[in-house]
């Protein structure tokens, strides 16, 4: 499943031929050309002439179309020749000829295509809900999400069409799994169907977030603002809470009169449900119950027991409809074909030979067992939600170079490794410390390990460090002031912390107790990856007593 997801999201869907450019009309045959806009033509020229800044500017001033037409593709005539070279199997020949045609593109086209592809895929990954039909908005949702979207779409279509049908739904699922995506897709589709007149919308959407607008005043103000914006009323920021509540009640009446439908999307619903006095929820749900308003309340949350946090009055008015959105399943199924898209436009995906080559290379890369194993490990670790996979794809795509220009398994594997290691923040922090800071940190850890009264503090850590230096006479002996500064930097980097919270005023900071936040293994791992960690330090961490005879390489 993660493989499937990756494949669909990073494929270029430009199998159809791109449009002909006017300069090549004399050749009369289908030329698979890359669609470049004016700006990327500049980029093309800039890429080829990277050394000479002056000529770059000169080239940029020249008419872009002419410049690019010089680099026009020859028609895909190299295929039979490549096929003859390549070998026996049809599949192999097809692959080879595809790659050969890809290779037949000159460097400029490839670079331009790579940039366009990177831009297009990045946009699609970062905004999976929006954009036009070629971009994120047109991608097919995976099976489970699609089922949820269909059901929700049907309910909301009912709400928008008929008075007296109102509903409230709760969507629950882990973070990054696609709840907001489903809601946004359904709402975009419904709005496109229903809002035909831009001045007089039939469906309005109000989005509030339980993390941002948890407080009633802010929530009601935000609702008033969005309603005013949607229905072209004049919004006043200085209205009080009472005014906004009255406005909401009046708006419900007005919306009923005008046959309008409103969908309230409450993100981070537990922020609203956590409050002891749930005024906003009560007002919204009670309005649904009291009148035949065409309205829907969609609640999104991560906590699976958020329904029980609601007050009993509010819970009684809530319809217990739930939709559970689950993470990607572990088994890898055969990937589906990506849907074909119209030919590339100015900001669309690159079409033609580049797209064909890209997709073929992608399919090959995603079939490699090493990459599959890495993805499986990522999934086991719990970092294979769609949001994390989007990050993998994004990293891979942004790291593309112009040559060879398509995604390789190594790129993807590197991205996977980076995402997998994203939880090791403390290890990375330790890896980036200076040697003196490392000594202080290890001293604190030793003191903690030894136990005893008083815990660790700067004074005792410095004493420990000094005793080691006296014993071993390394080159890393520093004075107290430097050590204190290193200590403060460790506190600032949150590798050390004061256990009870803040120290009292007036207590000398050298004597305040500290604790190390990183675990023993993390410090060990950090030391192991450190660029210039002295072995004495590693030994000092590992053993209580380090003999003088231990080899110490001072560089």
């Amino acid at each position: 499943m993660p493989i499937d997801w990756l494949k669909r999201r990073t494929a270029l869907t430009g199998e159809a031929t791109a449009r002909n450019r006017p300069d090549d009309s004399e050749s009369g045959e289908e030329i698979g050309s890359i669609c470049v806009s004016g700006s990327s033509a500049d980029e093309v020229t800039a890429f080829t002439d990277s050394t000479n800044a002056q000529s770059k500017r000169a080239l940029a001033k020249a008419s872009p179309a002419k410049r690019v037409s010089k680099a026009a593709l020859p028609p895909v005539r190299g295929a039979p020749a490549a096929g003859a070279e390549a070998g026996a199997e049809a599949g192999g020949a097809a692959n080879a000829c595809v790659l050969a045609s890809f290779a037949a593109l000159s460097a400029e086209e490839r670079a331009a295509g790579v940039r366009a592809a990177a831009r297009f895929i990045s946009r699609r990954l970062t905004d999976p809900a929006g954009g036009g039909p070629e971009e994120g908005g047109g991608m097919r949702l995976r099976g489970e999400l699609g089922a949820h979207a269909t059901a929700l779409g049907r309910r909301l279509a009912d709400v928008a069409a008929r008075p007296g049908v109102n509903t409230s739904v709760l969507l629950v699922g882990p973070r990054g799994v696609g709840k907001t995506l489903v809601v946004e897709r359904v709402l975009t589709q419904l709005a496109a169907e229903v809002n035909r007149d831009p001045g007089c919308p039939v469906l309005g959407v109000v989005r509030v977030n339980g993390g941002v607008h948890a407080e009633e005043r802010a929530a009601f103000r935000e609702i008033a603002r969005q309603l005013c914006m949607t229905f072209s009323l004049q919004y006043q920021r200085s209205a009080s809470l009472e005014d906004n509540m009255g406005f909401l009640a009046d708006m419900f009446l007005d919306l009923r009169r005008g046959h309008k439908a409103v969908v309230f999307v409450l993100d981070e619903f537990d922020g609203f449900a956590r409050r002891p006095k749930q005024t906003l929820l009560y007002n919204l749900l009670d309005a649904l119950h009291r009148s035949d308003m065409q309205s829907a309340v969609l609640c999104l949350s991560v906590r699976h027991d958020v329904m029980h946090m609601m007050e009993k009055r509010v819970l009684s008015r809530f319809s217990f409809r739930k939709a559970l959105v689950l993470s990607l399943a572990a088994e890898l199924r055969t990937p589906a074909r990506p849907a074909p898209a119209p030919a590339g436009r100015a900001w669309g995906p690159p079409g033609g030979a580049f797209a064909v080559g890209w997709n073929a290379a992608l399919r090959r890369a995603l079939a490699e067992p090493a990459l599959l194993a890495a993805l499986q490990a990522l999934h086991d670790q719990g970092l294979a939600e769609p949001r994390d996979l989007a990050q993998v794809a994004q990293l891979a795509v942004l790291g593309l170079a112009g040559d060879p220009g398509f995604l390789r398994a190594a790129d993807l594997a590197a991205a996977v490794t980076e995402v997998a290691g994203s939880q090791q923040t403390l290890v990375d922090a330790v890896r980036g410390l200076s040697v003196l800071e490392l000594y202080m940190l290890v001293a604190v850890v030793r003191l903690q390990r030894r136990g005893g009264a008083g815990g660790a503090s700067f004074e005792r850590a410095f004493a420990e460090y000094s005793s080691l230096q006296r014993l071993h006479r390394t080159a890393d002996a520093y004075g107290r002031a430097a050590a204190l500064r290193a200590f403060e930097r460790l506190l600032g980097a949150a590798l050390l912390e004061h256990p009870g919270g803040r120290t009292e005023r007036g207590a000398l900071r050298e004597f305040a107790p500290v604790e190390a936040r990183a675990a023993h293994q993390e410090i060990e791992a950090g030391l192991a990856r450190h660029a210039s960690c002295p072995p004495l330090l590693k030994a000092w961490l590992a053993h209580e007593v380090v003999h003088q005879s231990a080899p110490n390489d001072d560089d």
Binding site: D158, A161, R162, P163, G164, V165, R175, D197, G199, C200, A224, F231, S232, L233, Q234, Q236, S238, S240, E242, M245, G246, F247, A249, D250, D254, R256, R257, G258, H259, K260, T279, Y282, L288, H289, S291, D292, R303, H304, D305, K312, R313, S316, R317, F320, R321, L324, S327, A329, A330, D380, Q381, G382, Q423, Q424, T425, R517, A518, A519, Q521, E522
Partner: protein, 763 residues
């Protein structure tokens, strides 16, 4: 300038708010019109009956809703006697009348829904008349006008003038007359005019479509108006029915307050508090000294949304808030595709509260007795307080509102003295102290902050015992306080004041408090509890039979009883009665069951289109008799709904958890079992996990990943965990039952991921 409230001419009385025929300039010479039209066939207006036939009500077809061929009888029939008349049926297209007997073939009963005469059914245009006979036809021909009276006034000694607001015919709209416009349909526009009051012909009842369909009036003069129309923006707005009731009731309390005699511009007849300018839609700013209370009355100005509303029913620009066209689904109560099941789901919607709540007879009687006693006491109304309690979803507020509605009707009919009704809901107020502002605004229309409102109310309810009589008229104020437990503050001053006022002699305030807790008065301060008195009314949760009866009544009211198998309803009622007895729950359950059944029916219909024959496509739209596969809601549909609505989400979430999460849960369960405590430190759990993995020669897990996994599970509340910043010093505890975790960890996916899980003893 003097404002008048009513105007009499030629024996007809016109009041403000009535609709009336208006003689216009292009009406030609006015001739007297006939109220009743003769039958087209026999030419008689009245035709006596053969005595044996039962008399159905004289019905009229209301509008062009789609004909329902189900042939249900109109249930309201009376036995006919001698001398009763044959009913006359009106064609929906041309408005001509036909006696039932005169038709060929003769009909026995008034057909439900639309009926067209032969000519209209054939699509022929109606034959032209020599002259328009009735006033309604004259109106529709454009020779008579129809307008709403906004006010009467007279200046000096001049003739009385009237402010009018025009009604529009469908021909006057920007869309013209469309197919779905009823023959008697008009629209209330925004255009106004002033005219001498003699131009009014006679008052005409203009009712909503629903009222027209339910109780067709006796005479010919009735019109249907459901929408307001804005000529400038060319949009529509609905007229809502409950508003009309409030509109009628609003007039009740306005003559309580005497105007300041110092201002000679006003006289006794004037409506001192209805400061509406009818000649233009811009509000006038008026402040009136209220010397009885020392406050100025300001008009209610809404500060948000940029429009100033002068009345409750507001007349601002419609703009983007109007409907550009009336949607098809809102016309004529069409339930849309899905026929019977969709109609059943609509009947079970929470907002479709019936007029009279079933199964609450005793409580309704108790409430009615209390309120009648309070209202009838009039001057002697003292200390009347009632506390209503019950768990949510037992119908407390609905029953109270129903009783009040009933009493209002009787008061308008004159059987009871008039009274004022104020409803407060503590969850619709920004703070408990705003209850004073809301109460003051409801009583006097004055807007003031909480402190000023408190002072005004003190004065109003007779602080010294003397002031109350002035604001008199002897009307009792009935105050309904909903969600009363949220008005409890630390000093409990709000509730104390409210109940204190009700014990004052001149205040005439009766209070009904509604809350969920049974012993709220005992938990309040004793001084409030004593003022609250001993009158309690407890609404018990519904029992199984009551829930079933409620659902059946709802379905019967909408005439869709055939949609549900009674056993399905019984199952739903049992399920809900066992848990809470909450009527909202059972209605939602049945509604969801209907939706499941509708989806199943749609799926089977789509899967087997050729088998159904050529009528598959149109039959899918209105197939009420679809009993072949599942036109009915069965127990299995309700069961599916129960599964969705009552199931817990954590089992599926546990099943889909990743490998690390599962290992963490295993380690936590082992740790808690061996340590004996419910919670554990994450470092201990990590140590146990490390030993587990080491024993099975698997690679260890980094501490950062363990912390991230614990935080992830904590965010989903499968674990209870401290903040992730504490890292390995987090305390974690299981938030789901260990048996559930063990069950999930024995599942196929879990065993595939971690084969040695099956050998562990987790419980």
């Amino acid at each position: 300038m003097r404002r008048l409230r009513h105007f009499e001419a030629d024996g007809e009385t016109f009041r403000v708010g009535d609709a009336a025929f208006v003689v216009t300039e292009d009406g030609g010479e006015y001739e007297s019109d006939e109220e009743n039209e003769p039958c087209e066939i026999c030419g008689e207006v009245e035709k006596p009956h053969a005595p044996k036939q039962a008399l159905a009500r004289r019905g009229r077809c209301a509008d062009r809703s789609r004909a329902r061929g189900c042939g249900e009888q109109d249930g309201r029939e009376q036995e006919g006697g001698e001398g009763v008349l044959v009913p006359m049926l009106e064609c929906g297209g041309c408005l001509r009348g036909f006696h039932l007997d005169c038709l060929n073939p003769p009909l026995d009963d008034v057909p439900k829904g639309d009926w067209l005469c032969e000519a209209c059914a054939a699509g022929n245009p109606p034959p032209r008349r020599a002259r328009a006979l009735t006033a309604v036809e004259k109106l529709l021909a454009g020779r008579l006008g129809l307008a709403r009276v906004e006010g009467f006034w007279t200046r000096g000694d001049g003739p009385p003038m009237v402010d009018l607001r025009w009604f529009l015919r469908p021909e006057d709209l920007h869309t013209g007359r469309l197919r779905h416009h009823g023959a008697r349909e008009v629209f209330l526009g925004r255009g106004t005019a002033e005219a001498p009051a003699e131009c009014l012909l006679r008052p005409v009842p203009v009712v909503s479509r629903r009222a027209f369909a339910e109780a067709p009036p006796a005479n010919n003069d009735v019109l249907v108006c459901d929408y307001l129309y804005d000529e400038i923006a060319q949009v529509f707005q609905r007229r809502l029915e409950d508003e009309e009731e409030e509109q009628a009731a609003d007039g009740l309390h306005l003559d309580d307050y005497e105007a300041d005699s110092g201002s000679d511009a006003l006289s006794d007849d004037d409506e001192a508090f209805k400061l509406v300018a009818a000649t233009s839609l811009k509000p006038k700013s008026h402040t009136m000294p209220l010397s009885a209370f020392g406050f100025r009355v300001h008009k209610r100005v809404r500060k948000q949304g940029g429009r100033e509303w002068t009345e409750k029913r507001g007349a601002g620009q419609l703009g983007a808030l109007g409907a550009a066209e009336v949607p098809a689904a809102a016309l004529g109560g069409d339930p849309g595709p899905g026929g019977l099941l969709a109609a059943a789901a609509a009947a079970l919607a929470p907002a479709a509260v019936p007029r009279s709540m079933p199964c609450r007879g005793a409580e309704r009687a108790a409430l009615a007795a209390f309120l009648e006693e309070a209202v009838a006491a009039g001057e002697d109304c003292l200390g009347q307080c009632l506390y209503v309690s019950g768990v949510p979803g037992t119908g407390k507020t609905a029953t109270a509102l129903e009783v009040v509605r009933d009493l209002r009707r009787r008061a308008t009919a004159g059987q009871l003295p008039a009274f004022r009704f104020v409803e407060l809901n503590a969850l619709r107020l920004p703070s408990p102290q705003h209850a004073y502002s809301a109460l003051l605004e409801a009583l006097t229309g004055a807007r003031a902050g909480p402190k000023a409102a408190l002072a005004a109310l003190e004065a109003l309810f007779g602080g010294a015992g003397a002031g109350g009589a002035r604001g008199g008229g002897g009307r009792v104020t009935v105050l309904l306080v909903d969600e009363m437990d949220l008005l409890v503050t630390r000093q409990q001053s709000v509730l104390y004041n409210i109940f204190e006022w009700s014990t004052r002699p001149g205040a005439r305030l009766a209070v009904i408090g509604i809350a969920n807790t049974l012993d709220l008065p005992e938990r309040l301060l004793p001084r409030i509890a004593s003022r609250l008195g001993g009158r309690r009314l407890v609404f018990q949760p519904y029992s199984r039979e009551q829930l079933k009866e409620i659902v059946l009544t709802r379905l019967a009211d909408a005439r869709v009883s055939a949609a549900f198998n009674p056993r399905a309803i019984e199952y739903a009622a049992r399920k809900v009665a066992a848990v809470s007895g909450d009527v909202r729950r059972v209605l939602e359950l049945c509604r969801k069951g209907a939706e499941v059944a509708a989806e199943e029916a749609a799926a089977t219909a789509a899967a087997s289109p050729p088998a159904a024959g050529a009528a598959a496509a149109p039959a899918a739209g209105n197939a009420p008799l679809g009993a072949r596969s599942s036109g009915c809601v069965e127990m299995r549909h309700v069961d599916a709904a129960v599964q969705e609505m009552f199931s817990a989400a954590h089992m599926q979430l546990l099943g889909r958890a990743c490998r690390l999460d599962k290992l963490l849960l295993v380690a936590l369960m082992l740790e808690t079992r061996f340590s004996g405590r419910a919670e554990a430190y994450l470092e201990d759990v990590a140590a146990r996990l490390a030993s587990l993995l080491a024993a099975r020669l698997e690679p260890p897990v980094a501490p950062g990943d363990i912390v991230a996994a614990a935080a992830r599970l904590g965010a989903q509340r499968l674990l209870l965990a401290d903040a992730g910043g504490r890292r390995l010093r987090m305390r974690v505890a299981l938030n789901v039952a260990p048996a559930d975790v063990a069950h999930a960890l024995r599942g196929a996916a879990a065993v595939a991921a971690v084969p040695w899980l099956a050998q562990l003893e987790l419980l």
